[in-house]
């Protein structure tokens, strides 16, 4: 059995920052990462990040992964377990792991859940045809393995992921004949949308994919305009020949272990699904289990990094580390997070968090 003071599950932006901030305060940290490399989704992000200097603005995601991953790997108080999947949480406070194909267990005094999110899928006739990918898979193929998914890709979803992956496809020399979005407005930052528009990619808002066609693989799609009730408008159907259909219709927090641990959860659509209730120190209703990043609500990587720093700080403080500077450091990090969420772009997440009760509160 492994033993650690703070177990961090997930080596993406939130988990990396959580590990660094807890270890810098003096705690012994074990970081568990499912993949063979650190960085989570950051390794696939070739675009420059928004935010400010504190969140690495103007740097590309994969460079941030290299930077933070390097700091984590070099830190004497952080033990990294790669190719390690957290399997389950046991009542006696032990987490089971598959590490390099071996079964292991780990005990800890505090745990930070930074498991991130999984992609949502879309149901339509023939949606199971080969050639229909999630945007994450397309990014992995292209940006991790250097393989283009096809020659002509239609994108479903004009949120940040759909528009960013469309741009990455263009950069890889792949045609993107359409971005299809069911909502009446583009969810992506408008500057991202403008980037693909001026490369000639049309964005069809209030449209949806009706069906995919093909025998062995997707060869064509039918899409149409939809009304306010998301019903297709007769006569607006159009066909598009493609060899790949890429689905980018949002993310859902990965929370299985939180459920298993008995954390109080609530369904908050603005946060992407079931998320744990948490205190203002990011502690869930189960003492010693903290939350950071998309696992607690879908948001930008810049916010995930700040949340990770806060959770690391608070988990370390719970174990008695870094208490001198704790109030000041916590207040500063909170201000940073609040500033990111303060504008119109943060309205969604603010309203989601408002709905989410603190762990001690009884919701009416």
């Amino acid at each position: 059995m492994y033993n650690t003071e703070i177990l961090v599950i997930g080596g993406g932006p939130a988990g990396l920052k959580a590990s660094l901030s807890a270890a810098e305060k003096g705690a012994l940290v074990t970081l568990v990462e499912r993949d063979g490399h650190l960085g989570g989704q950051l390794v696939k992000q070739t675009h420059m990040f928004f935010g400010s200097k504190a969140q690495y603005a103007s740097e590309r995601g994969f460079n941030i992964a290299t930077k933070l991953g390097g700091q984590v790997a070099a830190h004497p108080r952080i033990n990294v377990l790669k190719n390690a999947t957290a399997l389950g949480y046991y009542e006696d406070g032990v987490v089971s792991l598959e590490v390099e194909k071996r079964f292991e267990t780990i005990s800890f005094r505090a745990m930070i859940m930074a498991t991130g999110a999984q992609e949502n899928t879309l149901l339509f006739p023939n949606c199971e045809l080969p050639g229909i990918y999630g945007a994450g898979a397309v990014q992995t193929l292209m940006n991790v393995h250097g393989v283009v998914p096809g020659r002509r890709v239609a994108m479903v979803g004009a949120g940040n992921i759909g528009v960013i992956v469309s741009y990455q496809l263009l950069q890889a020399g792949v045609q993107v004949p359409a971005i299809i979005e069911a909502l009446p407005e583009i969810g992506a930052y408008h500057v991202h949308a403008s980037k693909v528009r001026r490369m000639g990619v049309p964005i069809y808002t209030s449209h949806t994919v009706l069906t995919a066609h093909g025998r062995e693989r997707v060869e064509k799609i039918t899409y149409a305009q939809i009304d306010q009730n998301r019903q297709p408008l007769p006569g607006t159907e159009r066909e598009l020949e493609v060899d790949v259909l890429c689905i980018a219709v949002g993310l859902t927090p990965l929370t299985e272990i939180l459920f298993q641990a008995g954390c109080r959860m609530d369904y908050i659509p603005e946060l992407g699904g079931h998320v744990p209730l948490r205190s203002d120190t990011f502690e869930t209703s189960v003492p010693g289990i903290f939350i950071a990043g998309d696992a607690g609500g879908i948001e930008e990587a810049s916010a995930a990094m700040v949340e990770g720093s806060i959770a690391g700080l608070c988990a370390a403080a719970k174990l008695g580390y870094g208490l001198d500077a704790y109030p000041g450091a916590l207040a500063a990090a909170r201000r940073e997070l609040d500033a990111l969420r303060n504008g119109p772009a943060g309205k969604h997440i603010r309203s989601g968090l408002e709905k989410l009760a603190a762990p001690g509160e009884v919701k009416g």
């Binding site: 675009h47 420059m48 990040f49 928004f50 935010g51 400010s52 200097k53 603005a57 103007s58 740097e59 590309r60 460079n63 263009l170 950069q171 009446p184 407005e185 583009i186 930052y189 408008h190 500057v191 991202h192 949308a193 403008s194 980037k195 693909v196 528009r197 001026r198 490369m199 000639g200 990619v201 964005i203 808002t205 930008e300 810049s302 500033a339 990111l340 969420r341 303060n342 504008g343 119109p344 772009a345 943060g346």
Partner: protein
């Protein structure tokens, strides 16, 4: 409408167009940033005082365009690739338009490419005058194009 099409409206673009007197003085940035998002590298990268301090990181950038010296640092720092530069003093009939660029292979200096508008429509042949890496050294490049003056506020991309 920008939020439905991804293309800024004429009204939005008019609001960020420098005054004719300023354009007559030389290169100046055009900041096509119309949505309040948490982002401030334009301000933090600018060394000439053109971008005014942000009160809130979600603010739209505010500029004192008289301070812009045409260095182009902000163009390569803007994560949204939303900053361009126009120099109307280049010649009688042509302006220099500088755009951020993240595609490879890079166009060759001196070559003729097609200037595209904000919808990616082919507008007019333009000459690539200069290709340089952004000051941030983050893989972005700045392309400076020779564009007929009447297209200086239309050409925002190229096809090479």
């Amino acid at each position: 409408m920008l939020s439905r099409s991804g293309v800024p409206t004429k009204k939005q673009l008019e609001a960020v167009k420098p005054a004719p007197e300023r354009l007559a003085q030389g290169p100046v940035v055009i900041v096509e940033c119309f949505q309040e998002i948490p982002c401030d590298p334009c301000y933090t990268s600018c060394k000439s005082g053109c971008f005014l301090p942000f009160e809130d990181i979600n603010d739209l950038p505010r500029m004192d365009l008289d301070q812009c010296n045409g260095c182009g640092t902000c163009i390569g720092a803007c994560p949204g690739l939303a900053i361009f530069m126009v120099d109307e003093t280049y010649s009688e009939t042509e302006a220099l338009v500088t755009i951020p660029w993240e595609f490879r292979p890079l166009p060759v200096e001196g070559s003729e490419v097609t200037g595209l508008d904000r919808e990616g429509k082919a507008l007019i042949p333009v000459t690539v005058r200069k290709v340089r890496p952004s000051a941030r050294k983050n893989g972005a490049y700045l392309l400076t194009l020779v564009v007929p003056k009447e297209y200086a506020f239309e050409v925002r991309s190229i096809k090479n």
